[in-house]
């Protein structure tokens, strides 16, 4: 594995990265209140009296939020703590109505686990690294401050206040921007598989606090900075790159890295110190006396385990080993839960209508999805979820190719018509008369004409220019308007030239 090093004036520097990812737990209601969590509502409409911290209001935890965090923990093979507690983190801010955030410091719900990341996209098994997870705990999100609505005032919207977050804390195991990016992508994939977070980074459902420090290789960890609320994989990588080189510059100029909170400005592509939050924080954590310890029983844990889907690593291996897909295709198809779900629906339907095993239809299905369908969606600017062609319709098209009804070339035409009209493949083939023919008489006639029209090329072929075989096939197919069975065409040409 090539190591990432920053070349400084005093030599090489190594960067050390840890990520604290805040992932919004998928749930209808908030962590401690019955208010809704939906994105984009009118200000302060999804706020209960509990979320607004009215006097005498009390928290009651949402089972689903706990369940999703436990399932996430299980997905990264982490230790699940059957006894955990909620603590209060005390600080004053306008987006924090209680004056404290209910979180888990001393006894988190989920303990140590790990995530494997692949660093070579083309060959996902080539460069694998394990990134340790320190813990996952559950906590409340804060509200939102708007600064641009009034010249002298900030406005407070508490719709997000109290929404459940999982804070997923990695160990400082990453050593390059690429590793940080791969880790965040992989984590997002896992969360989406598990269904515990929708992973919508542009809506703030997932955001990362990026801890970065630099050191000379082999030396102890340096002082780290924490860049808050970075909301895309690309930005995380940019933060690591910029923060690491900034720290190297500071150190090489004889300065010291200050342990501080920083903010990333994507427009300027730089990080800057958050001076307003710098006054010495003392969060005075203590167990929330409004809540009892959270004790989980075996039945609860068993349900969490049973409800876990096949996870990306396992799925990728199965695609390679049981379905015979290439490592690259397997990795691409499993990188996102929705893609894998679509693929598996395509596979299941294909196997059903072709009366074959999934393994037998897998390759053709994967190739069609990754080249034909993805190409079309790219052109249309649509996502897989928005695909105008359903997996069932795709499977029908593939079945027509597989049973020789149409050729691959015709299939491309049929697919275009499907995209435009929404008609099914069999209907298009039927209506447009695109069925490929194996009528040897017609094909023989076409072959004879092609060879007769190209007598010079037949000469050349016979003199040893075998590459011309393809030309004869192409001309014959063209004469047949693409509807001839290519195998039959091959056979008949070979016979005629013999």
């Amino acid at each position: 594995m090539s190591e990432y090093r920053i070349q400084g004036a005093t030599g090489e520097w190594e960067v050390v990265i840890g990520l604290e990812v805040h992932a919004q737990v998928t749930s209808q209601a908030k962590l401690f209140s019955g208010a809704a969590t939906a994105f984009g509502a009118e200000p302060n409409t999804q706020v209960s009296l509990v979320d607004a911290a009215m006097p005498g209001m009390l928290p009651v935890p949402n089972r689903e939020c706990i369940r999703q965090a436990v399932r996430t923990g299980m997905a990264i093979k982490a230790q699940i703590n059957k006894w955990s507690r909620f603590d209060r983190k005390n600080y004053f801010y306008a987006d924090l109505p209680q004056g404290y955030q209910i979180s888990q410091l001393y006894h988190p719900l989920v303990g140590e686990g790990a995530i494997e990341i692949s660093l070579d996209e083309k060959n996902p098994d080539a460069q694998v690294k394990t990134i340790g997870i320190e813990r996952i705990h559950v906590e409340q999100d804060a509200g939102k401050l708007m600064h641009d609505q009034h010249p002298t005032r900030s406005y407070v919207d508490l719709n997000r206040s109290g929404v459940a977050l999982m804070e997923i804390v990695s160990k400082p195991d990453m050593r390059s921007p690429a590793e940080a990016g791969a880790y965040l992508s992989k984590l997002r994939t896992i969360l989406r598989y598990v269904g515990s977070c929708d992973g919508n980074m542009d809506q703030g459902s997932m955001r990362a606090d990026v801890n970065v420090s630099v050191r000379k290789p082999g030396e102890p960890f340096g002082t780290r900075t924490e860049t808050k609320n970075v909301n895309s994989v690309r930005f995380v990588m940019a933060v690591v790159e910029h923060e690491a080189s900034r720290q190297v510059d500071v150190l090489e100029a004889g300065g010291k890295v200050v342990q501080e909170t920083r903010l990333y400005d994507p427009d300027k592509n730089e990080t800057r110190s958050m001076r307003s939050k710098e006054d010495a924080h003392d969060y005075r954590y203590f167990p929330d006396p409004d809540l009892l310890p959270l004790e989980l029983d075996d039945a609860f844990l068993e349900e969490c385990r049973q409800s876990l889907p096949e996870l990306p690593d396992a799925k990728r291996q199965r695609y390679e080993q049981a379905l015979g897909l290439s490592a690259y295709n397997a990795a691409t198809l499993t990188a996102d839960a929705d893609t894998a779900r679509w693929f598996e629906a395509l596979l299941a339907e294909g196997a059903r209508i072709q009366k074959k095993s999934e393994g037998e239809v897998a390759k053709a299905s994967a190739n069609w999805l990754l080249s034909e369908l993805y190409g079309a969606l790219n052109r249309l600017g649509k996502t897989l979820e928005e695909s105008p062609v359903s997996p069932e319709e795709g499977a029908e098209l593939l079945a027509l190719i597989a049973d020789g009804t149409i050729s691959g070339t015709i299939a491309k035409q049929v697919f275009e018509i499907m995209l435009e009209t929404g008609d099914s493949a069999p209907r298009i083939v039927e209506e447009k008369g695109l069925k490929q023919t194996s009528d040897t008489g017609a094909i023989e006639a076409a072959v004879a004409k092609v060879l007769a029209d190209n007598a010079d090329k037949v000469e050349q072929y016979k003199a040893g220019k075998e590459a011309l075989f393809g030309f004869f096939v192409g001309q014959t197919m063209k004469a047949m308007q693409g509807k001839a069975n290519p195998q039959v065409v091959n056979e008949l040409i070979r016979k005629a030239l013999a």
Binding site: G56, R284, P289
Partner: protein, 494 residues
């Protein structure tokens, strides 16, 4: 004709049902007493119209022959720590001056649903922090009691539920709600010659009660008799899914099961509650209490609660710690007072708002709480206190292996003059020495009047029971009540 304001809750309820008087007559009589007692400063807000409204509803129901509710016809006072929808709720602070909740606390709602009417919001120590009712932003509550011999010094009604205790003993209401964090129901009851019970932690929902210290706060009733306490508590208690610490248990029929026959019960007398220098009159009353319980058939055993002396310091770490966090929400953003000096930023606004909105005792406790939770001190103070608290609870568990209930004094002295202990916070804290241990252990405890001291001031006895055993606590209280025959009442001077 009977003076309606001299009736107990049970007598009002039964007399109203029997048709002896109308609910409106009762409400009007108490409203008149409230209006005539401004000198006591027991109420922050008077709501005579609410009392009449509930009374009229009761009268209509009775006229229509409808089934009457448990508290139909009974007006009560509501400690101003319970959020009442549309009626100012201040916790006796400037911070919440003008705050009109858009919701009703679970306990007050249960009482209104049971037919009770509200006479008004009762004064208290600010945010329930105090033992003399001298920390209210709305002024001291004056006890209706005075020392004998022409001493007209204004006395403390106890605290924090001092408005409740003063109002009941002065016949401004037949009963009231209180809350008890370290003795705030029991000590004021003792100071004013009435009864009050703090139920087991978790019996009454805390939802909608302005929080002081979450792991200690419990609502409970205050009234002149043990029976009245049982009646009120039945309506106040019960499972509330909105409070995670609420106990999911059926509410017992405490009133129906009242019995002062204590045969077969063992009464523990904790030796640590009789320190050197215990007030002689208190000690003598305690001895009388022991005899009364024996007379009721109980067996008396000596028990030990070895960590008793650490209860107060434990309490004064845990309660301020929780309070410092619970009171962080008072920041001038969403409700209550806001103090925004010229050019102030957000954090300046917080500091100014909280400096102006909190009184000195509240600030003191927030500061102590902040300190004991701060980095480097958390384990030494808070964790240590929670460990000692576990030991204190264990003391009770071990004592209850030998007995069914404990008998102790309620407070170390009778009521004192306002201002007497204000200069020394510690001296004030010591008032709760006998009440705090049961709070730390979450146990039910009642204060009942036992007699008067030489100056003519009431003294109380406390009965502490096992968790969830309010019945034995009430029964023993009744046994004392029957034998003490406490009939003294303050002479009206206001």
């Amino acid at each position: 004709m009977t003076n309606l304001t001299d009736l107990t809750v049970a007598e009002i309820r039964d007399g109203f049902r029997a048709g002896d008087f109308s609910a409106r007559e009762v409400a009007a009589a108490f409203n008149a007493n409230v209006a005539a007692a401004k000198a006591l400063n027991a109420f922050i807000v008077e709501t005579p119209e609410k009392a009449l409204e509930a009374a009229d509803a009761a009268d209509r129901a009775r006229a229509a022959g409808e089934a009457l509710k448990p508290l139909s016809g009974v007006p009560i006072g509501m400690k101003d720590l319970f959020c009442t929808e549309g009626v100012q709720t201040t916790a006796a602070s400037h911070m919440l001056e003008g705050f009109k909740p858009t919701y009703e606390s679970t306990v007050s709602k249960k009482l209104w649903d049971a037919g009770a009417g509200m006479l008004g919001k009762l004064n208290l120590d600010q945010f329930a922090m105090g033992s003399s009712n001298e920390t209210s932003y709305y002024g001291n509550v004056i006890s209706p009691w005075r020392r004998g011999g022409g001493d007209n010094a204004a006395l403390a009604p106890g605290g924090s539920s001092g408005g409740s205790s003063a109002a009941i003993s002065a016949r401004l209401c037949p009963a009231a709600t209180g809350t008890d964090t370290g003795g705030s129901i029991r000590q004021p009851a003792a100071f004013t010659g009435i009864s009050g019970i703090k139920p087991t932690y978790g019996r009454c929902s805390r939802w909608g009660i302005v929080a002081f210290a979450s792991s200690l706060d419990q609502a409970g009733p205050m009234a002149r008799t043990v029976r009245d306490n049982a009646i009120l508590l039945e309506s106040m208690a019960g499972f509330d899914p909105k409070d995670s610490t609420s106990l999911d248990l059926a509410v017992p029929q405490w009133e129906a099961s009242l019995s002062s026959d204590l045969r077969g019960k063992k009464v523990g007398i904790p030796r640590e509650y009789r320190p050197d220098g215990l007030n002689a009159e208190i000690a003598a009353l305690w001895d009388r209490g022991i005899e009364w319980l024996k007379d009721a058939g109980a067996e008396v055993v000596e028990v030990s609660l070895p960590h008793t002396k650490y209860a107060l310091p434990t309490y004064y770490i845990i309660a301020p710690a929780e309070a410092s966090s619970n009171l962080a929400r008072y920041d001038g953003v969403r409700y209550g007072q806001r103090d925004l000096p010229d050019g102030a930023g957000l954090q300046d606004m917080y500091a100014a708002t909280r400096a102006a909105g909190f009184g000195p005792e509240v600030k003191r406790r927030i500061m102590i709480g902040t300190y004991v939770l701060s980095a480097g001190f958390y384990d030494a103070y808070y964790t240590q206190a929670q460990k000692v608290r576990a030991l204190i609870a264990r003391d009770f568990d071990q004592a209850f292996e030998k007995c069914d209930l404990l008998l102790t004094p309620t407070a170390p002295s009778a009521s004192f003059a306002l201002g007497e202990k204000q200069a020394d916070p510690l001296a004030m804290y010591l008032n709760d020495v006998f009440t705090v241990p049961a709070s730390l252990a979450g146990l039910p405890a009642i204060a009942v009047p036992g007699g008067l001291d030489a100056q003519g001031l009431p003294l109380g006895l406390q009965i502490i029971g096992k968790a969830l055993d309010e019945q034995t606590v009430l029964n023993a209280g009744l046994a004392i009540e029957e034998r003490a025959g406490f009939a003294a009442r303050p002479e009206k001077w206001w």
